[in-house]
Symmetry: C2
Subunit: 340 residues, 2 copies
DNA sequence: TTGAAAGCGCTAACAT
DNA sequence: ATGTTAGCGCTTTCAA
């Protein structure tokens, strides 16, 4: 706000009108004559008048701003989701405040506390992997803040949740591995408190059950932070005598470690270990070997979340129901699970 | 702002105080007794009082908000830069409004027009690849809006620019290719109107000159939009009899196409073509072959840009000088340029 | 068709 | 140490 901005008052003086008249003219009110409107518009244009959004917000109790709260942005799913969110928002005249939790519930709580100020008209949320308690979310939700979840949801909050078919995707991933001959399927988790993580895992497990390899199913909980730690955890897992011969990675960031460790240990992919990962990276097809992926409809999920949120903000008739909107993911088979 | 938020007035009534007293108490003013402060704080806490930021903005002509305007977020450089920007901003109590230009100058202009409203206290900008004119930027800048560029700068605007050593990086990349035996080095551009692109290209060219392979230097302008188009352009280039035997890709998104085309045409990397790309992707080391990269200090550039901008907002003594702050990139040699 | 005045929530003079 | 008042820029009754 360093801009020495022109105000309605100044416009009014320039035009020899009242501020009220100018305000109405700018909003194209029917109670202002066409001639006056023209005059006002012309001068406004000339003086480069842009209304002060905060004055308007104060009056209207609407900020035309939404908050996007998510764990991080250096993940292709979230990047693409933001693209979808922003596209819709800008088109509808909304501004996007970005908040990153960096997977920390403390940061998430601090952000939610701030959002109680009324800085935004609604919130798009994908919770941190540390988030187990939900008081901070409920507290804001109970103040009638519209909240729409995408991807990482909270079942307990009764609102719209945009997800992909996590359970089925997990199931399909594991089933694919089993059909490729895997007997010992491992699911690499990012967090045990995330619904989507657990659904994917349960899908895997069920596939193993249905195909009689349940006792081969294992589950490795990795960290969402330090890659060092994960490297060691994965390596230890792959050194076990009954190491997995098939891996489902719940997030794309695990794949680099998996590949490097297999290389270090002399395990061939897919010969010795087959790998599927949830990922939206464009470069998966040029990995060594090309990576079989579950690709989430990231952009579309962002778009849908954004448009539902904004609709609920603008139409009081459109309340946010407790509802799951599911957009399916796609399994794309590549060399990391077949061939060679 | 759907939150039925509590106001200072209501606090004051609850406490039997004036709004002014409450306001001062909340800001820990010395002219309020300790006892009263305690009382106020207690009630504020109890009633979950959070000040209305827009009322404050209106009074102070400060929004504690910065805008980040950049081409896209689905690029690891920008993702990491946002991380850096957001970290610093949140720590200093600033909010981040995210705007994506999607490489369109029209969108960029529309955003800048809006920013004249005083919605933000400062702007971090990485221009679109279409941006040739700069009137929209100058116009805002002349209104005393602090603007700091990062990565994709505008020389003409006299302010701080955070970049990496683009020229040297281009030089190093090409020199590395030449030392690996390349005779025909091509630079794949994302835009001819971006300084950073041209500096990288000029660096390449100079390296070719210095090593007597100037006549082998070529330059291919690709699109920042449709990947289809790029695929065909690159393919045509690689089908030429005097096709390059070394490629410097100015942005990471070109690498997938390059790899796929070489595969399609039966060109081995690095045997027939060596590839270096500017990239911050974590997965470059597991590509087939692992990709030699120029890695930009993305996070650090974001951090620095953010902290300089905020400093200039807060300290009137700290004016933004016309200055280049350069953080060097790193060349990491991998299999796409050597071996096999 | 236009204008005067009040008020959104907050703070900074200026009283008291 | 606390209260009164005016005003940030805008919109919206209500009056003219």
């Amino acid at each position: 706000m360093a801009t020495g901005n022109i105000t309605i008052k100044e416009l009014a003086k320039e035009l020899n009108l009242s501020t009220a008249a100018v305000s109405k003219a700018l909003r194209d009110s029917h109670e202002i004559s066409a001639a006056t409107k023209e005059r006002v518009m012309a001068v406004a244009e000339k003086l480069n008048y842009v209304p002060n959004p905060y004055a308007g917000s104060l009056r209207h109790r609407k900020s035309k701003t939404i908050a996007v709260v998510l764990p991080e942005v250096a993940d292709s799913f979230f990047s693409l989701a933001i693209n979808g969110i922003e596209s819709v928002a800008i088109e509808k005249g909304y501004h996007v405040l970005l908040y990153l939790t960096h997977e920390s519930i403390l940061k998430e709580e601090a952000i939610f506390k701030d959002l109680a100020s009324g800085r935004v008209d609604g919130v798009l949320l994908s919770i941190s992997s540390e988030t187990d308690g939900i008081d901070h979310i409920r507290s804001l939700f109970n103040r009638n803040m519209p909240i729409v979840f995408f991807d990482r949801t909270c079942e307990e909050i009764e609102t719209v949740k945009i997800t992909t078919n996590d359970y089925e995707s997990g199931y399909k991933a594991a089933e694919h591995l089993i059909k490729c001959g895997c007997k010992r399927v491992a699911f690499f988790s990012i967090s045990n408190s995330l619904q989507i993580n657990n659904k994917r895992r349960q899908g895997c497990l069920q596939a193993c059950r249905d195909h009689d390899v349940e006792e081969g199913f294992s589950h490795l909980l990795l960290s969402n932070r330090a890659s060092e730690v994960n490297y060691q955890l994965i390596k230890a897992e792959m050194l076990k005598p009954d190491r997995p011969d098939g891996i489902v990675a719940s997030v794309e960031k695990f794949t680099t470690d998996i590949y490097l460790i297999c290389r270090e240990l002399g395990l061939g992919i897919p010969a010795d270990v087959k790998v599927v990962s949830f990922s939206n990276l464009a470069s998966v097809s040029i990995l060594d070997p090309a990576l079989t992926t579950i690709t989430q409809p990231a952009f579309e999920m962002g778009e849908l979340a954004s448009s539902i949120l904004i609709k609920s903000i603008e139409l009081k008739s459109f309340a946010l129901k407790n509802e799951n909107r599911v957009i399916p993911s796609t399994l794309t088979v590549r060399a990391s699970t077949v061939g060679k």
